[in-house]
């Protein structure tokens, strides 16, 4: 009951004109970045984070800026489907699975049904996950209070292990990417020994460490921009969509046939989203696979099955809420986007972690309330303005690229007032581009930068406690199982290799 009244108060705060306005603005921005191929939620959130300081200076607290960014995150999950369906190019990696059936359906002249199904499934996925989130979060936060240094380190280990064990990218490259992130995370002043480390060329700018925002904007602003310019030399044809009110109404009525994919996506998406390092993309792919598996007509999948659109779209929205859960309750981001949100919370002066729920109820509940509001706003705007988004999708990237470039430069400077950071950001962006060309996954590096500064001191503090004895990670009741699970996940690829070898031998 306490939760319901807290939530009701939160929804009221989220409905205040400023917050509602920011939610609407955020959703529109999110729909846009989600729909534009080459941009996803993380790009929007990273590039616009510095501008939330402006919002904060007008509204005071951290609630309104966070509502804005969270709305972008949600909007992007909706927007991704638009280009997946009409262009056949996923607007964001989270909408890859939506192309499988969305594109064929659009080519068969039923693009309006695909678009409406995607929007409604997203809405259901978002709502279901919000309810699960509201029920779980306070409980998890109260358990997390008992977490000491070894427990937090074990969780960090688990986060890295999921990348290696479940990441799906090339494993040596994933490990290399994590290592780059960890090395960059050690730059600066070491709190345990009190000594400066890796101050390259004695530049004082390195003494405060490499700021996460500099990296995030470098990788997801400049790096992504160069990448898109380099890769999008194709021309694509856009499917015509008949978006008359009558057509949309018919499509809404048809949505009930997609209940199977919607419910699987909503539930599965959330739980995959909770896993660190998993997030919305694997969540939507897995939901698509499971729905196909249990469908009565698996043969229709890939040819325009309505369940094949509903499942990934419900899942990516649900997973994005799921990824918020460890971020809000444990202070551990599950995806690059939540990592940026976490960095924002720190910059706005909040202390993320289990105490957030006890110490900052004025922040937490309006934010959760805004999840519900943004979700409603997103589905309405999405349905009402489908033609506008289709028109925007025709915008050539040559217009968008300079905008991203300028926003990245101004945003980085505004955040820290330091030209050193701006140059570093550009260098990071160029480096990220080359790493992508060489097929290195960047998300592990970005998360390692966030998790490294948490994991390293926790490891050393734990070992100080135990006088250097590693058994502290195994003997404590909460840390033990987490550490063992992490080790199993790290070894998982090895098991697969051995299994394959044995198969080949026999």
């Amino acid at each position: 009951m306490e939760v319901i009244s807290a939530l009701a108060d939160g929804v009221l705060v989220a409905l205040q004109p400023v917050n509602l306005g920011l939610a609407i603005l955020g959703v529109i921005v999110g729909l846009f970045v989600g729909a534009m191929p080459g941009l996803g939620s993380v790009n929007g959130v990273a590039i616009l984070l510095p501008f939330t300081f402006v919002i904060q200076s007008f509204t005071g607290g951290a609630t309104s800026p966070m509502i804005f960014l969270a709305a972008i995150y949600y909007g992007a999950m909706y927007g991704g489907a638009i280009s997946s369906i009409t262009l056949g190019i996923p607007g964001a990696s989270t909408a890859v699975a939506t192309t499988f059936d969305g594109r064929p359906m659009a080519l068969s002249g039923k693009a309006h049904i695909a678009l409406v199904t995607a929007a409604l499934a997203s809405f259901v996925g978002g709502t279901v996950s919000n309810i699960i989130f509201t029920a779980f979060a306070p409980a998890l936060a109260s358990v997390a209070l008992d977490f000491g240094d070894p427990e937090i380190f074990a969780l960090m280990l688990l986060a890295f292990a999921t990348f290696v064990g479940l990441g799906g990218d090339d494993i040596p490259k994933t490990i290399f990417s994590i290592c780059i992130g960890l090395v960059l995370a050690t730059v600066g002043f070491d709190i345990v020994s009190g000594e400066p480390r890796l101050i390259f060329f004695d530049i004082t700018g390195f003494s405060h460490g490499i700021r996460f925002l500099v990296l995030a904007i470098g990788v997801y602003g400049i790096g992504e921009m160069i990448w898109t310019i380099n890769t999008s030399r194709y021309s694509s044809s856009m499917t015509q969509v008949d978006v008359s009110a009558k057509n949309i109404w018919l499509a809404i009525k048809e949505f009930k046939t997609a209940w199977r994919g919607t419910s699987i996506g909503s539930a599965l998406g959330f739980f995959v989203g909770i896993l660190p390092a998993a997030g919305a993309t694997p969540g939507s792919l897995m939901s698509y696979g499971v729905t196909k598996l249990i469908s009565k007509n698996p043969k229709e999948f890939g040819k325009g099955a309505i369940d094949g659109i509903a499942a990934p779209e419900a899942a990516n929205n649900s997973a994005s809420t799921g990824a918020m859960l460890p971020m809000m309750t444990l202070g551990i981001p599950g995806s690059p986007t939540t990592a940026v949100l976490l960095a924002g919370m720190v910059i706005w002066g909040l202390q993320p972690g289990p105490l957030l729920f006890t110490n900052q109820p004025d922040f937490v509940w309006p934010l959760i309330g805004s999840f519900y509001i943004s979700n409603v706003v997103a589905v309405l705007i999405n349905l009402a303005f489908i033609p506008v988004f289709l028109w925007m999708l025709r915008m050539p990237f040559t217009i968008l690229a300079p905008m991203i470039f300028v926003l990245s430069l101004v945003g980085t400077f505004a955040a820290y007032l330091d030209m050193f950071d701006v140059w570093l950001m550009v260098i990071v962006g160029v480096a990220a581009f080359f790493l992508r060309i060489l097929d290195y996954p960047l998300a592990p590096a970005v998360l390692a930068i966030v998790l490294g500064p948490i994991a390293e001191p926790k490891l050393r503090q734990s070992l100080l406690f135990s006088d250097g004895d590693f058994s502290i990670f195994f003997t404590r009741p909460i840390a033990g199982p987490i550490t063992i699970l992490a080790i199993i996940l790290i070894l998982l690829p090895l098991f697969k290799v051995i299994k394959n070898k044995m198969k080949a031998a026999s």
Partner: protein, 324 residues
């Protein structure tokens, strides 16, 4: 907050560059936004205090030009000290300092920074330190604490804010003078340390009152002894270490300094400005609430205070082996 300041600052700077003129003969007034360097990261105690000063100046319109807060937390203050030392316009560069103002130049002679060269604008307060334990430890007096900590030896864990920090100095003092061998584990900030004590992950801490206040009010954390000369008004029942026979008190300076090379006219202006901040009702209220001590101090008095602090820290750091 910072962005709007910046935006205003940038706009104001560009617009005024063409219209304003420097070199007014008599009293100094800033003719552009003033860089307000904070020797700590965002969100910590030092940062909140600096931003309070800024908001008092803004609210009471004490300055015609805005103060632009810039956080430089790197290298335990080294980054801030270097930035202030190399300031292009010393008359428009001021900095909020902590005790790392004394210790960092001592520990890193390579920086070639002399604390005494900075312009003495004003000491706004001295923060205090208390010894804290969790209420479930059952310890209520300093004597019980010594007994338990002695018995536990290196199993007794004290947390603090970094190696060779203020907390480390106090912990060393207790270990050396009371035959203890407490283990010292550094954390990122005072807030994190207090949280670990409240969560019973650490046995004790020497937090500032402002850092432990939340857990003190909720009853989780109990203060045992204050490292001050007199009892703190906020904790009238907590004895000082001096009452318990120890000859030791320790404070954290919260002072505003000007960049080396600041002109006398500018120094006089900032002296007046921060005296007004100090006298404001908001600042006095904050001092009381956060249990801060120390009167306003500026000019020669502040320089001689720094002199004694530098000497004292040199001795302390030599004794602990941090410097030769």
């Amino acid at each position: 907050m910072i962005t709007r300041r910046t935006m205003i600052g940038l706009v104001a700077a560009t617009m005024l560059a063409s219209t304003s003129f420097t070199g007014i003969a008599h009293a100094f007034e800033p003719n552009k936004p003033v860089d307000f360097i904070i020797m700590a990261g965002k969100g910590g105690g030092a940062d909140k205090m600096a931003r309070l000063m800024q908001s008092i100046i803004e609210k009471n319109k004490l300055s015609t030009r805005p103060l632009v807060p810039i956080n430089k937390s790197g290298g335990s203050g080294a980054e801030a000290l270097i930035a202030a030392k190399g300031a292009r316009d010393p008359d428009h560069t001021i900095m909020v300092t902590l005790n790392s103002f004394f210790t960092t130049p001592l520990r890193q002679p390579g920086l070639k920074i002399d604390a005494m060269k900075f312009a003495p604008i004003g000491r706004m307060a001295e923060d205090t330190f208390l010894l804290w334990v969790h209420k479930d430890s059952g310890i209520t007096t300093f004597e019980q604490y010594l007994e338990k900590a002695k018995k536990d030896g290196s199993k007794w864990v004290m947390g603090g804010t970094g190696k060779n920090s203020e907390d480390n100095i106090i912990t060393d003092y207790l270990n050396n003078n009371y035959g203890l061998s407490m283990k010292y584990i550094p954390y990122k900030g005072g807030g994190a340390v207090a949280k670990q004590v409240a969560g019973k992950q650490l046995n004790s801490s020497v937090n500032n009152p402002s850092e432990a206040l939340g857990f003190y009010e909720s009853g989780d954390m109990v203060p045992l002894v204050a490292f001050t000369d007199e009892r703190l008004p906020m904790f009238p029942d907590v004895p000082t270490l001096k009452e318990k026979g120890g000859d030791f008190s320790y404070f954290m300076q919260r002072a505003v300094v000007g960049a080396p090379g600041m002109s006398d006219e500018a120094l006089a202006y900032y002296n007046g400005l921060f005296k007004k901040v100090y006298d404001s009702a908001e600042w006095q209220d904050y001092k009381k609430k956060k249990s801060l001590m120390g009167d306003f101090m500026s000019g020669k008095d502040l320089v001689s205070y720094w002199g004694t602090q530098v000497d004292r820290h040199r001795k302390i750091l030599k004794a602990s082996g941090a410097i030769k």
